[in-house]
Amino acid sequence: MTISHHPPEDLLADFAAGRLEEAHQLVVGVHVAGCARCGRFVQAIEQLGGLALEDIEPVPVASDAFEQVMSRIHDAPEKRAAPTAEVARGNEQDVPAALRNYRIGKRRRIAPGLSMRPIELSGSGTARAFLLRSAPGSRMLEHTHTGTELTLVLEGSFSHEGGRFGPGDFDYGDDEIDHRPVVGDEGPCVCLVAMTGNLRMNGLLGRLIGPFVRL
């Protein structure tokens, strides 16, 4: 897998610092897990986090904090938290391993050749995350964004004026960008998408299907 499109550095640094909202954290995290180059960058920021932790002015913890911690260690058995999601596991070929701890909703058809599956998040952020599947060779509708869109290609490819995006490639779109992606012919294109705001489809068909894209 040759990755040629990476998240911008400040997004990676925010990811490493744990500052991104959940949907963005997920998309950047899946990219980083598969991209050694960005993984190194994130680790470098984590090193700086460690240095910051060493240098920070200590603030006293509760006077009995150590005893509390020891008793909680001894009271609670050492078990891994059981995964909470029971939906969408096991027999699902198109769900990448990195998403296996998330609850993923049923496939919904948006338009001919275009379907999506919502990813259940905690609701702590404002962006939504979903898997978007497009048929090979399809021309996505011309659209603009009211917010930002982070896209990670999991399978297949698409191209737009910014270049060709294959597996592992990361694409960042905001309301300045007018997308008109074309899906590659080699197979369906599956993307992990985090989106704030709404897609604004241009044209009559876009207006017809627009509401479905709102999840």
Binding site: R40, I45, L53, A81, A97
Partner: protein
């Protein structure tokens, strides 16, 4: 001011009237400072292998107040910061066996645990659960990592360490203040006594430089 910071690079000079805290912050912090004489990685190893309470206590006394300090800096309430500090130390005890000194420094490892617990706290709050209401620590789902990626991490560790050290002190500081402590740019500007525009450009330069160094050594 920049010249002043450079002068402080020589540790002795820092005593000249500089606030203690900033002096500490301006040290490189890389296993030379007064706080890092203790081999924290070794203590974590002892917690892992023999469940040694004394080793854990030393880790606790060093790191718990620092985690609390960092979380307060990053905008947590006092209760949240205390909770994250305690939960981080519980996780240090439980996950000590997973710590690999070849891939990460002790402080960086503990930083990532605290970071994940803070993320969990915000998410569980969003789910209207109380963290303390559940006996087990919720886990942030980690993106799955293939075994060969773990191997390459070991090989990368030295490279990453050297890249971080190649950042100038001003660059390292500005990244830490902005991303780790989450201070707004105007605050960083007044803290370092530099114009706002310089803060922004310095962050950008630091990011690019880090990326370049890491790419060069690839």
């Amino acid at each position: 001011m920049i010249a002043a910071i450079r002068a402080l690079d020589a540790p002795i000079r820092a005593k000249a009237g500089f606030p203690r805290r900033l002096e500490a912050r301006l040290s490189t912090g890389t296993s030379k400072g007064p706080n890092t004489k203790v081999d924290w990685a070794d203590l974590i190893g002892r917690v892992a292998s023999t469940r040694e309470r004394e080793a854990f206590k030393r880790l606790f006394e060093h790191f718990a107040p620092r985690i609390k300090g960092l979380m307060l800096k990053a905008g947590c309430s006092s209760d949240e910061a205390e909770e994250i500090a305690q939960n981080t130390m519980i996780a240090v005890w439980r996950k000590a066996g997973q710590f690999d000194p070849a891939t990460a420094g002790a402080a960086a490892w503990i930083f990532t645990i605290a970071r994940n617990l803070r993320i969990d706290l915000f998410r569980s709050r969003a789910r209207a659960d109380r963290l303390r209401g559940t006996s087990e620590l919720p886990e942030t789902p980690d993106p799955a990592e293939p075994a060969d990626a773990v191997m390459s991490r070991v090989q990368d560790a030295a490279r990453i360490n050297s890249a971080v050290k190649q950042l100038s002190m001003e660059q390292s500081m500005v990244v830490r203040l902005s991303f780790v402590e989450e201070r707004p740019h105007p605050e960083i500007a007044s803290l370092l006594g530099i114009p706002l525009g310089t803060v922004k450009s310095r962050i950008r330069l630091a990011m690019n430089r880090l990326r370049d160094i890491l790419d060069e050594e690839a």
